[in-house]
């Protein structure tokens, strides 16, 4: 096991820049999740750490040692691919022992290592099968097994669960978390699924367009998103965002949202009076009531029951306001209700730069 240091790492394919300077330190034993939309450069960064992609500029250290010039085989890391990349002409046992055989490990050691890994992943009855004869979930576990048979400095995962159906994905998510708690190995996990990121990570690295947007614990990112991108990306149903004008005259900071609706803020924001701002509030924080004073009148457009709760779409001040409630039967389509935004739950962003300002 080892820490990983990434210093101002850049990647360009010819003149096309993919990564614009990534800085990141991953502690020994930490589980870090890289999350971001498709094409933002997550895989590229992971593959650079693995040594499968050249580093255009910057430096990567594994366990304090610079690895920029090292071949993948000399970096002592293990990787689980989205496609699993199982060797089709080898059995499960052959797939799992390949790395050990390359290292000329003694036969008895190999046998005990793969039987241990097989046990952990309940693969024992499948050891003599070829990948062709396995289900998707089983293949996924073999790919995991191949990574854990040797004790590498770090585990890299590139969307390992994307090819599984929802139920299995949820199950394997738990398995991966348990495995990490067991082994305590440094892990970097790439996904575009924010739920996976939230549930697995010690620390999340949110990326967009080749730039790290925010690094922090899952709840940090959820509760205090650093900018509009993170605010919109984390959480489902997604955060409500309303554009408005910031007003701070007469000592009462507030946002004018249009149609005469004004929302009070808890404190002053770090911007000037009259600035264009975006007010964000998570659907589960929107309070839906019946014509309370101090609240905004709204009409229910759409009711989406999820079983777990209900998503209400209300039309207020010309915008769609989503509210999530665990209560059922709170309102029906066509009802006139009122919505309010508790001040301590409001996020405020600069509309042009996207940064958090309050």
């Amino acid at each position: 096991m080892a820490s990983i240091d990434i210093k101002d790492v850049r990647k360009a394919y010819g003149s096309v820049k993919i990564l614009h300077g990534v800085d990141l330190t991953i502690q020994d034993g930490e589980f870090v999740v890289l999350v971001g939309p498709s094409g933002c450069g997550k895989s590229t960064l992971l593959r650079m750490i693995a040594g499968l992609e050249d580093i255009s500029a910057g430096e990567i250290k594994i366990g304090g040692k610079r690895v920029n010039e090292l071949d993948p085989k000399d970096r002592d890391i293990a990787m689980v691919f989205q496609s699993y990349a199982l060797y089709p002409h080898m059995t499960v046992a052959g797939n799992m022992s390949y790395s050990l055989r390359l290292r000329k490990t003694a036969k008895e050691k190999i046998a005990s290592a793969i039987s241990g890994a097989a046990e952990k992943l309940s693969l024992t009855p499948l050891m003599e099968r070829r990948p062709k004869a396995l289900s998707g979930g089983q293949r996924q576990r073999v790919a995991m097994g191949r990574a854990i048979v040797r004790s590498p400095k770090a585990f890299l995962f590139d969307e390992p669960l994307s090819n599984l159906d929802a139920r299995l994905r949820e199950h394997m998510r738990g398995e991966i978390k348990k495995l990490h708690q067991d082994l305590g190995a440094t892990s970097i996990y790439v996904t575009h699924d924010q739920i996976e990121a939230m549930t697995l990570a010690d620390r999340i690295v949110a990326m967009n367009a080749g730039i790290v947007q925010q690094v922090g614990s899952p709840l940090d990112l959820y509760d205090r998103p650093a900018n509009l991108f993170v605010a919109g990306f984390m959480g489902s149903p997604a955060m409500n965002m309303f554009e408005g004008t910031y007003r701070a005259t007469d000592g009462a900071p507030r946002v004018e949202l249009g149609q005469g609706v004004t929302v009070a803020l808890a404190g002053p924001a770090s911007t000037a009076d009259g600035a264009r701002v975006t007010l964000g509030i998570r659907p589960e924080h929107v309070v839906v009531g019946k014509n309370e004073p101090e609240s905004i009148p709204a009409q229910i457009d759409l009711v989406e029951p999820t079983g777990f709760g209900t998503i209400l779409h209300a039309n207020a001040f010309g915008s769609d306001v989503k509210a999530f409630s665990l209560e059922r039967g709170l309102a029906a389509r066509g009802d006139t209700v009122s919505v309010s935004f508790p001040v301590e739950r409001i996020h405020l962003f600069d509309t042009t730069t996207g940064s958090r300002i309050g």
Binding site: G51, L52, P72, K73, F81, S83, A85, Y87, P88, L102
Partner: protein, 278 residues
């Protein structure tokens, strides 16, 4: 109604295939028939499907009293060497084409295509001119050299399409597991390309086995003649010994048949895999 139609369609389909196969195999049958027809019956019995008396005299003569075994051996050496060398070269080249982008790749591919554009007849004189001072005319190695040169471009494209069909992830996984790129190629990629290699091997072997033009032009002595050239020796100034010629032909078919018999399992996989991809 519907199933009737389907039955008719199936029958028509099979019949068409049967016609085609019969058409394609008839000359081979005729070769076989003449090879067992005694000389005295060849012109006297008219056109019939099988002679009234079948004998193996021609085979006996060809094997024991002609230069045919020598031709046969030469052909075997030339075709096998060509097939093996071309398969090795085109596997390496095809892998590079499939996996790497390197300077001049575009021009190399262009040049390789260019070599496929000329009628071979045009090239005989220059090639003779090149090989002659090197002492490579009238020698089997010269012939192998020429065959290899002419088969490598196409075989490389063929092999490239097989490699393209194998996901990059596999060798990347192997390299992370601790293999060098060459080990990943040899232990992971090559075993998966065996069908492709068998197809290439078979294709090049038959091409070299039946090649006549260069064999005829570059080789003048009996010692280095291959069997297609040897077949011509049954044509003398005054007559053609059809019986012996056909017997030699039948014998020459055997290695090609055996070869395909052994690789056909891979070949069908290989050609279809290549076809889907490439």
């Amino acid at each position: 109604m519907r199933s009737n139609k389907r039955i008719v369609a199936t029958i028509a389909h099979r019949a068409a295939i049967l016609c085609y196969v019969a058409f394609a195999l008839f000359p081979l049958f005729w070769v076989l028939k003449i090879s067992v027809t005694p000389n005295d019956l060849l012109y006297s019995e008219g056109v019939r499907l099988w002679p009234s008396r079948a004998v193996f005299d021609h085979f006996d003569f060809v094997i024991r009293h002609s230069d045919f075994p020598l031709f046969f051996r030469n052909s075997m050496i030339v075709s096998l060497s060509t097939a093996v060398i071309v398969t090795i070269l085109s596997s390496l080249g095809g892998y590079a084409m499939s996996r790497f982008s390197f300077r001049g790749k575009f021009w190399i591919v262009g040049l390789m295509l260019l070599t496929q554009m000329f009628p071979l007849v045009m090239l005989i004189a220059p090639i003779f001119k090149i090989l002659s001072p090197l002492g490579l005319t009238n020698s089997l190695s010269g012939l192998v050299l020429v065959y290899v040169a002419f088969n490598v471009p196409f075989a490389t494209f063929l092999m490239q399409s097989f490699f393209d069909g194998i996901p990059k992830d596999l060798e990347e996984a192997a390299m992370i597991d601790g293999a060098t790129r060459f080990m990943a190629f040899r232990q992971i990629i090559l075993p998966l390309t065996l069908p492709g290699m068998a197809a290439t091997l078979g294709f090049v072997f038959t091409a070299a086995w039946s090649e006549l033009l260069f064999a005829l032009m570059l080789i003048s002595g009996v010692d280095a003649s291959t069997f297609p050239v040897g077949l011509l020796s049954f044509v003398s100034k005054f007559s053609v010994d059809f019986g012996q010629m056909m017997a030699a032909g039948v014998l020459a078919l055997i290695p090609a048949c055996l070869f395909f018999f052994f690789i056909q399992r891979y070949l069908v996989q290989g050609l279809t895999a290549g076809a889907v991809k490439g």
